[in-house]
Amino acid sequence: MTNSPALPVARVTLQILIALNWLWGAAILTLLTATIVAEQWTFTALGITPSSWIPSVIMGLRAIAALGLVAIPLNYMVLRRLLAIVDTVREGDPFLAANALHLQAIAWLLLTLQLLSILVGVIARAISTPAHPVHVDAGFSVNGWLAVLLTFILARVFSAGALMREDLEGTV
């Protein structure tokens, strides 16, 4: 199990995703700052002409960017905890109480991210007009909620596994 190539691949992938997440956060922060510091220039660059400036649309776009920023530390916490779990699998002992707690935390974080996604979807739909349609990859996702459910179940499985492992350790 420890020699499986899937684990080093998963570790590197998670590290890349952590770096990309921070880059993505920096990009959102830059965009959000630009919409405040150089409002006209930024919105013109985004294809929103001064004639179609509607305060609610501007505020909606800023709210979406702000929610995107909120998601960055949440993504980071999910990825860090996944990395910690992968490391324990590499060490050959994944059925630990700590991993059950990691998975439970990941499940709650994923649930929060799903709620954020729905909120972003609602805002995008509210500010979208036929003249200026707003396309964002957010909203209700069956797969996303399935992942939340599966992670909660997996956390319980790990919790039971950790107890069994503890019992086995004291067995002679």
Binding site: D167, E169, G170, T171, V172
Partner: protein, 78 residues
């Protein structure tokens, strides 16, 4: 724990060391030591069988139930 392991007494009676028993029952010295010091949470039938076979004893000779310690544990919990 109300169950005590009397491995020490049995080994003394048989003039056998824990290392020797470990080699004969094919169980690690570390695991036998856990059993001897009463730190084990469970014992496999296969372990019990191997020890009983080598020491020529019954499981009852190896394990003892002490009702007094149950009462002590219950009074501690209360």
């Amino acid at each position: 724990m109300a169950i005590t392991v009397k491995l020490d007494d049995l080994l003394y009676a048989r003039r056998m060391t824990l290392t020797e028993l470990s080699e004969r029952v094919d169980i690690t010295l570390a695991n036998l030591s856990i059993l001897k010091t009463g730190k084990a949470r469970a014992i496999r039938f296969s372990t019990l069988e191997a020890i009983c076979a080598v020491l020529a004893c019954q499981p009852g000779d190896l394990l003892e139930f002490e009702p007094d310690s149950v009462a002590a544990e219950q009074s501690r919990a209360a």
